[in-house]
């Protein structure tokens, strides 16, 4: 069981810098829990408070958001075979989930809660730093994309107003 979790964490892009921190990874594998979800089940609900990150072992999930008219649309599809994970923001702060996640097939996850992740980081500061850095890199990428989106929206808005002047 633990060996399998260990193998999974090794494959997850978030922990790819921890190759030299075997002891830390073993400890993390012990801190995780396994969770299953049947096809069609809601793993995470948009707007609810989250406190755990999910690494997909097997199966496929769909990340879903809602429009202003409350119509659901698919943001992306994540699969276990591609080292998919989601909910990593919950490891950093206590906030509402920004999207829903629905299992597209029967799924298996390894779940790390914020509390345990932080305790693990205290025990293995070097590994904790590397992992947090990885998450920060992820966030930086998203922030840049969000900035680009804001500029796109902003210029569309200005263009729209220009036509009405």
């Amino acid at each position: 069981m633990n060996r399998e979790r260990r193998r999974l964490l090794d494959a997850c892009p978030l922990f790819q810098d921890l190759a030299g921190e075997s002891a830390a990874l073993d400890d993390l594998a012990l801190s995780c829990e396994n969770q299953r979800a049947a096809a069609g089940a809601m793993v995470i609900t948009e707007g609810t408070e989250g406190d755990a990150m999910y690494v997909i072992c097997a199966g496929r999930v769909r990340v879903e958001k809602h429009t202003l008219y409350d119509d659901a649309y698919t943001v992306t599809v994540l699969a276990g075979s591609e080292g998919g994970f989601f909910g990593e923001l919950a490891l950093l702060d206590r906030e509402r989930r920004s999207a829903s996640v629905v299992a597209e097939s029967d799924c298996e996850f390894v779940v790390v809660s914020r509390e345990r992740f932080q305790a693990w980081g205290d025990r293995h500061p070097a590994a904790g730093l590397l992992t947090t850095r990885r998450i920060a890199q992820h966030l930086a990428g998203r922030l840049r994309r969000a900035n680009a989106d804001i500029i796109t929206l902003f210029s569309a808005l200005v263009e729209e107003l220009e036509q009405r002047l």
């Binding site: 958001k65 429009t67 008219y69 649309y73 989106d149 796109t152 929206l153």
Partner: protein, 403 residues
Amino acid sequence: MPRPARRPPSSFSERLHHVWHALQTEHVPAMVLYFLVTLVVSGGLVYYIERSRNEGFRSLEDGFWWALVTLTTIGYGDRYPITTTGRLVAGVVVLFGMGMVGVATAKIASILVERRIKEGRGLSETHDLTGHFVIMGWKPDMHLLVKEVLAAHPGLNAEHLVLINSAGEEANDGLRGQFEGLRYLHGELTDPLVLQRANIARAAKVFVLADATGGRSDQEIDARTVMALMNIENLAPGVYTYAEVLDRQYVDYLRLAHCDEIILSREYGRFMLVSASASAGISQALLELMDISDGGGLTGEAIPAEFAGRTFGELAARVKAESGRLLIGLLENTGQPLTIKRKALREAQKTANVGVLVENLRRVKELVANRPVLNPGDEYVIGTHARALVLPRGTPATSEAKR
């Protein structure tokens, strides 16, 4: 997020309320109440007086029955009072009954006559209509226009046609005689009150004609059409509007007033003249294309749902194979423009990519309802709300070349 206000349906209870209101202004409920009170009091009184001496009044029911027969001046005579007191009461009841019947008859007559006069003068209201077709303005050949509008809309009958114009009682009486049930409202095109009387918020279509009565200049006529369209847009934003304009300059103003279809009738006429001079016979061909009587001419029809997303070529082949008709083009985004745009807006939001979102929203903004696409090529992909422009196969009767 502003949500569109939904139009309430014209419910049964609402119509009942209208009838009740009309009756109340004529004091009908009060009169019915007086009648019932008189009936109960006099019937009871006569029964009480007569019951011991008269075989005819055995129960209270006999008393009420006698009062009803007497008050309505029917007077069967199956039972009658025989005591002096009873006869005195009966005398009062008879007099009362005569008065009451007279008043009721007069009231009913006056309500009927008044409605007649109002209809004739175009002062009635059409609160009961929904999904109706309103034609605003007057034309010298109005009877032909009405006839052809009815012919072009199978399922539309004259009762669902409302004319708004200021041509007067005589002109409209002629039309109303010709088309049973046709409604006419007297009023200026620019008057919002007459639009309300026509229940415009629940109409399906409104056609605003270039009304040349009163010796107005072309500019004045078109300006009034624009004003009418603005009023309609204000009172009934969801209604599909057509407007006839004389001067091309006013097309932009009509677009600002959200007119759905603009007909440059004079330009069509000129175009016919010019094309006739340029190549002999083409005006005949165009006329046949436009003439939709007898199942001929160009028509728009629904496309089977499975063809949405497939190509024009596939649909053309299917139409040809099935009925030998010719698919010459498509009308994209057909239907109520507001509904179409709302639907498109909903769909446009379903993306996580902001670049795509902005592009989608821009496309919604530029979406033109009922846009014709003529002979777009076989690889053109058919949209979800498209209709087919189909030319029927010429029959031996209409194609003389075969003879």
